[in-house]
């Protein structure tokens, strides 16, 4: 039976005509399609997602995403499907590994660390000054605030 269907498909349909305009009846799926095609990377291009690229492989991946969405697959399942064939490279959202975790940790640690440093520095400076000079500086600053 499978053979017959395949033969039928082969001999009657135009050979995979240009495919554009993937539309869904369900707006949720439509949004997922847009999001996924922006998140998935074209494996062959110079840094483009599959939504923007004209390469053949991008066409194929878009078609695959369309098919998988129509089969009811979830976002994670579709991304995993692609990753199992093209590796982590194919998703613009990096995986969380012991190395990549620093992408999120380092900025946070920096802000907290530097802020702590600023506050401790402040405390150190408080005790070093001549009160008269300070008073004069303060009055100058008052004018400065205007």
């Amino acid at each position: 039976m499978k053979k017959l269907i395949l033969l039928f498909v082969l001999f009657t349909s135009p050979l995979w005509a240009l495919e554009e305009a993937y539309t869904f009846d369900d707006p949720v799926k439509q949004k997922m399609f847009l999001d996924l095609t922006e998140e998935l990377r074209c494996p062959q291009c110079q840094n483009q997602n599959i939504a923007d690229s004209d390469a053949m492989i991008a066409h194929d991946l878009r078609r695959k995403v369309y098919e998988l969405l129509n089969e009811g697959k979830s976002r994670e399942e579709i991304v995993d499907f692609m990753k199992s064939r093209y590796g982590d490279f194919v998703s613009y959202q990096p995986p969380v590994t012991p190395l990549t975790i620093w992408l999120w940790l380092l900025p946070v640690i920096f802000v907290i660390g530097a802020a702590w440093f600023v506050f401790t520095q402040r405390k150190k400076q408080v005790n070093d000054f001549d009160e008269d000079v300070l008073a004069k500086a303060d009055s100058l600053l008052e004018k400065e605030n205007d």
């Binding site: 939504a51 990096p94 620093w102 992408l103 900025p107 920096f110 000054f129």
Partner: protein, 682 residues
């Protein structure tokens, strides 16, 4: 023949830069005026020879001199003349010559416009600029010479400029971007000379600030132009892709913004000196890093020039010497910089430094996101991609505390701000912005967290800016009760208005980003002549396609008319999108049809012709997208206003100095007196 002249001129420029690196620095070290005085003529000489060289290359393009390899690779006799000139910076070698030309323009600018600054300082700054320039001239002459000749055999015609670059955007975006990119070299040079001389008082911050602001203005505009160009040129309606080359330009901007604010703190309060110096070094270092990333082939990008490991190696060497050298100097000298200000934990300086830290964190995010794939791969862990989902997520987290501090900062006093005093204003700001956010959501009939957040933040900035102006005007009232509000407003300095516009522009850009990201509508449909599609209350009718011929291309033009409703009676506008084929380069390109408005863009792009005679058409309705770029223009205007403030008029400062001290050369004490006086007047 002119090409050879250009080549020779470049060698002379290199010579000038070598002399410039040595004599003035020596003069400053030994305090010998005749050597320091050499700085200005040498800088002018360096600029003139570079300009001649650049002019020769422009001439080669304009006259179709295909004996020059670079011209043959990037131009064509059929190219319109204005694109022939643009093609000068369409490839790696030529764009680098533009880079060094702009570098020499900034150098000569510093040489000519520094009358109020002590000669020793200017001499050092110019020498440092000369030293950096040596590396670039050598690179141009040895590894990527635009004047390389194809003689005795040369082609009848050239290979044409990449069609994507045959556009208005290419005429202005690279020069503007380079002006900003390269301009941070001046702040860098000031920082290094301060470290070398050991003199880092608040006047150093004052001198650096206008130069830094100028570079920042150009970079803001350059980035914005790039974004706008990508938007209308690439046909996908996107305006920022977190591509490595875009990130390479964003990082100096983030650090530059931090630097401008940090300079303000150091100038006023004499604190955070070593931090400000580090920022000044980092801004230009990031520019250099960006240059490396773009030209070395290390990262995959739509923007990269053709790459070559030897070229990359040369730039890496320049990077090593300039950045490495400056950071070593920093490690040695910076510990000696003393900051003597006092401040409470709740004060304007802490908020400014807080946002400095957040901007730096954002830079770290971009740097890591751009470079980690490279590190990941080199370690042997395979290839990963880091793109929009990650960057957008992190920037969304960072922007919340950033805007809060931005709202509080201008309302706060230096040194100590009472939390209670500011509470009321913050509460008002919060309430108004939440109301505004809800109104916006209601008008779009759709609620998302991101839209709510973005709206609240942008409106809050607006409100707090207004509150700050009101606060300033009210304060003045305590001194003289006889002045009117208008008079009081007029007394506020250009510097103050610069700040207002800068923050306002940021809010405008933020609201543009928020609205277009959350509420844009896109439809990708197959249309036959007469077909109609409705998006966001606009009705688009496809009216077929006609043939098209251009100077060096041919193709089709798709026609779409826009109406208010399906009765097709009231026409709003007429859109035409092109699909072009360039036979010389054998590549095709789309030109989108865009109707721009204050509140929305209607965007249409023509896709492929389908087998049943229909065409694939992409239609977008993009709300408030122009606010993104309008906001950046407002920000740049703010920067310009700040520069125009009287206290930066070096000539005036010089005259005042002369009157005060009666001497020609400024000494340390008089500059301190001047600083206090100027502060009192501000």
């Amino acid at each position: 023949m002119f090409a050879e002249l250009g080549h020779f001129s470049l060698v002379l420029a290199l010579l000038m830069s070598m002399l410039l690196s040595v004599y003035p620095m020596w003069g400053a070290y030994k305090n010998q005026v005749q050597y320091m005085a050499l700085a200005k003529p040498l800088a002018i000489g360096m600029f003139l020879f570079t300009a001649i060289s650049f002019g020769a290359l422009v001439n080669a393009f304009y006259t179709d001199d295909f004996s020059v390899a670079y011209v043959a690779n990037h131009s064509n006799s059929l190219l319109p003349w204005y694109y022939k000139i643009t093609a000068v910076w369409g490839g790696h070698e030529g764009s680098f010559l533009l880079w060094i030309l702009i570098f020499s323009i900034w150098t000569v600018g510093v040489a000519v416009l520094s009358r109020g600054i002590p000669q020793a300082m200017v001499a050092r700054v110019l020498s440092i600029l000369g030293m950096v320039a040596i590396g670039f001239y050598l690179y141009l002459l040895l590894a990527s010479n635009p004047f390389e000749s194809l003689l005795p055999f040369y082609p009848v015609d050239g290979r044409d400029l990449n069609p994507l670059l045959q556009d208005f955007g290419m005429i202005i975006h690279p020069p503007m971007l380079y002006m900003g990119y390269v301009g941070f070299a001046v702040a860098f040079a000031f920082a290094i000379s301060a470290l070398l001389s050991g003199q880092l008082d608040s006047t150093w911050a004052r001198w650096s600030r206008p130069w830094t602001l100028a570079a920042w203005c150009f970079l803001t505009l350059g980035l914005s132009l790039g974004s706008w160009w990508a938007y209308y040129e690439l046909g996908w309606g996107g305006w920022w892709f977190w591509d490595p080359v875009e990130n390479a330009a964003l990082m100096p901007w983030l650090v530059g913004t931090a630097l401008v604010h940090s300079l303000a703190v150091t100038e006023k309060r004499k604190i955070f000196k070593s931090w400000t110096v580090l920022l000044a070094i980092s801004a230009f270092s990031l520019s250099l890093l960006g240059t490396f990333l773009v030209r070395s082939g290390v990262l995959v990008s739509v923007h990269s020039f053709a790459s070559d490991p030897t070229r990359g190696l040369f730039i890496l060497a320049i990077l090593g010497v300039v950045v490495g050298g400056s950071l070593v100097l920093y490690a040695i000298r910076a510990p000696q910089l003393k900051s003597i200000g006092r401040y409470e934990w709740f004060s304007r300086e802490v908020m400014l430094i807080g946002n400095n830290l957040l901007l730096t964190a954002a830079t770290i995010v971009v740097l890591m996101g751009t470079l980690l794939p490279l590190v990941h791969k080199e370690i042997g862990l395979g290839s990963i991609s880091i793109g929009a989902p990650f960057f957008n997520q992190m920037f969304t987290y960072l922007i919340v505390p950033f805007v809060l501090l931005l709202a509080m900062g201008p309302l706060s006093r230096w040194k100590k701000q009472s939390a209670k005093a500011i509470q009321k204003q913050m509460l008002i700001g919060f309430v108004i912005s939440v109301c505004a956010a809800l109104l916006i959501q209601a008008s779009y009939n759709q609620m998302t967290y991101m839209a709510t957040l973005g709206s609240i933040l942008s409106v809050w900035i607006l409100v707090s800016t207004l509150q700050e102006i009101m606060q300033r005007v009210a304060k003045e009232n305590n001194k003289t009760s006889s002045s009117t509000t208008w008079q009081r407003l007029r007394r506020l300095t250009p510097s103050h208005w610069g700040m207002v516009l800068g923050h306002l522009g940021f809010a405008v850009t933020l609201i543009g980003i928020t609205l277009v990201s959350n509420y844009d509508q896109e439809k990708d449909v197959r249309m036959r002549t007469g077909d109609v599609v409705e998006i966001s209350g606009y009705v688009f009718q496809f009216n077929g396609v006609r043939e098209l011929t251009g100077p060096n291309y041919y193709g089709h033009v798709g026609i779409v008319d826009v109406y208010t409703d399906t009765t097709l009676t009231e026409k709003i506008t007429h859109l035409e999108a092109e699909k072009r084929f360039y036979p010389v380069q054998r590549s095709s390109m789309t030109e989108a049809g865009i109707d721009s408005g204050i509140s929305r863009d209607l965007f249409m792009a023509l896709g492929e012709q389908l087998n049943d005679g229909a065409w694939a058409v992409r239609i977008y309705v993009k709300p408030f997208v122009n606010w993104i770029w309008a906001g950046s223009i407002i920000m740049a205007l703010g920067g310009l206003l700040s520069i125009s403030d009287k206290r930066y008029r070096m000539a005036k400062v010089a005259k005042v100095k002369q009157r005060l001290s009666g001497e020609q050369t400024a000494t340390a004490t008089s500059s301190d007196v001047l600083a206090t006086k100027a502060q009192g007047q501000a």
